[in-house]
Symmetry: C2
Subunit: 337 residues, 2 copies
Amino acid sequence: MAAITIDDVASLAGVSIKTVSRVLNHEPHVRAATRERVLAAVDSLKYRPNVSARALAGSRSYLMALFFDNPSPGYVHQIETGAMGACRNSGYYLIVEEMLESGVELERRVAAFNSTVRMDGVILPPPLCDRTELLAALDAEKVPYVRIAPTTHLDRAPYVFMDDRQAAYEMTTYLQSLGHRDIAFIAGPPDHTAAARRLEGFRDAMEQAGLPVGPDRVQNGAFSFLSGAECGELLLTAADRPSAIFAGNDDMALGVMAVANRLHIDIPGTVTLAGFDDSPGAQVVWPQLTTVRQPVADMAREATELLIAAGRGDVGPKARRLDFEIIVRQSSGPPAR
Amino acid sequence: MAAITIDDVASLAGVSIKTVSRVLNHEPHVRAATRERVLAAVDSLKYRPNVSARALAGSRSYLMALFFDNPSPGYVHQIETGAMGACRNSGYYLIVEEMLESGVELERRVAAFNSTVRMDGVILPPPLCDRTELLAALDAEKVPYVRIAPTTHLDRAPYVFMDDRQAAYEMTTYLQSLGHRDIAFIAGPPDHTAAARRLEGFRDAMEQAGLPVGPDRVQNGAFSFLSGAECGELLLTAADRPSAIFAGNDDMALGVMAVANRLHIDIPGTVTLAGFDDSPGAQVVWPQLTTVRQPVADMAREATELLIAAGRGDVGPKARRLDFEIIVRQSSGPPAR
DNA sequence: TCTGCGTTTGACAGCGCTGTCTTACCGTTT
DNA sequence: AAACGGTAAGACAGCGCTGTCAAACGCAGA
């Protein structure tokens, strides 16, 4: 396994190693015929440039980092998938790191990381992307980064996002279109920006349709299965039960579903249920959950591509919005009678 | 951000860079006093060696790769967590790659990967770890690897695993200890080695307890939610319903649970249910599922540590068995009446 | 005191590439 | 035919570290 180096390619093509380097890096000033010869040599030798050598000699390392602190495996996995895909297409590699520390420790960790592995960019999913110390540390190290669905410091760095408010608005509209007029909403933690936006979208859609939303029709959950179950129990056992429940995320919707099953309340026959996120659990439950699909993988892909483009000197857009999708499954239907 | 190099440390400590290198690599032939001086300099400068330079100059790259093709986000995430933890403790970094191709394409991909980033080792979770082409490609490239829960070619390379048969045996024993005598088992695909082992453990425990297992008491599922639901329906609607159902994995157990809810069969009041895997869904369901916790993250950690030790020249054990755990939650209880 | 041998330390080359600078080349213009 | 300007290609240094080998050191015994 004597590794093939750029010298081998150069001598086979009958050019200097610098010319091979030019071809590989898509630099100008190479005659078309020469380029062909080089590429043919690269092909026949199956030559692949070594990233460590490139990183050491040049200004790019071809390494992207994905930092995360999100406890949800499904979410992280989707982010990874998107980021990995973008990296692969451009000859980059992805290093994944869990960043659970905060404050000074976080800053130290980032600095240490960056001196050992000079990365070309960092992808920051929520909620990590909202940590001020992190942004500061990255800025100090001059490492480019792109944030995914950030909620603060929006002018500080490029980011990709989706419109939570609009998504909740459209889901609510969909439920109304089925004939529901008494719809309850289970909100997430008020300090969670996306959660607040979703509630906003729900309220706007109800108001616009001229439908009242009583105070007991908005319950405060915590984005967890358990909190969903609690809020669900409250709503489902009330004397005047809503005909539809829209939970601010899938975990809470699944909580509601568990309670409904226990209370022998048929979904969607008696009560319609909708969630938000299209988490893996949404399909592994019966009935399968009507929900909003967030383009999580796509956001990560876009973020990574932004970073890669920036490495080439292309300045991309400051922010990029991606589209959600309303996924209608079996948990929603027209109201009873 | 003028990066701090080994030269800075060397001149501060008043030694040559080679001596600093020796200290950093725990090489012998450095006087204790010298080592202290060097370490103090490293500390005060917050110096971190650069992995690219190390990889280029030396025989180690400090990069581990995790290849996977497992579609389950939860499983992959646990593997990652374990592997990342081990890497972090030893100054290694983890590159994650999804390897969906097969045959010659897989071999090519591995070869290309290894020439661009010369990794110190590869972690192979199932089912990827059972692909003969992959092992061949890795062997050809002379890249060390450790497999997690492999089922074939066990003598080919080190691996970590857990005893599926024993785990199923103990879970069955636990169900018996609750008073269940008529227990049904939903098996996984027969060609899936772990699935076969679990069935084996179930049968052994039943036989040893002198309990009969009728032919209809072992249903063949496919490790999926849907197949679990189908088998569950068969078992639960039969005239002579078993008092307990042990599903070969959690997904199938959740399928059974969904059907039971729909049929208004109380779990665990009427029928006890147990799964296997302790997947994320097991806790996000009501009642929470009694199951077997596989030490997935621990297996990945051990695998990574084996690889790191091998890089230092230590030859570890050929195989390492880790312990499972029976997790008793709310889906199991004494038989009715 | 000197020799001999093991231990500690350093000089130096070079890993495989890219950045910078220089030279060779080729077609135009005067 | 000479001079020019721009493009194509190469020479060379060096990125930050480790491996090899040689030198210096220190302590034993003669």
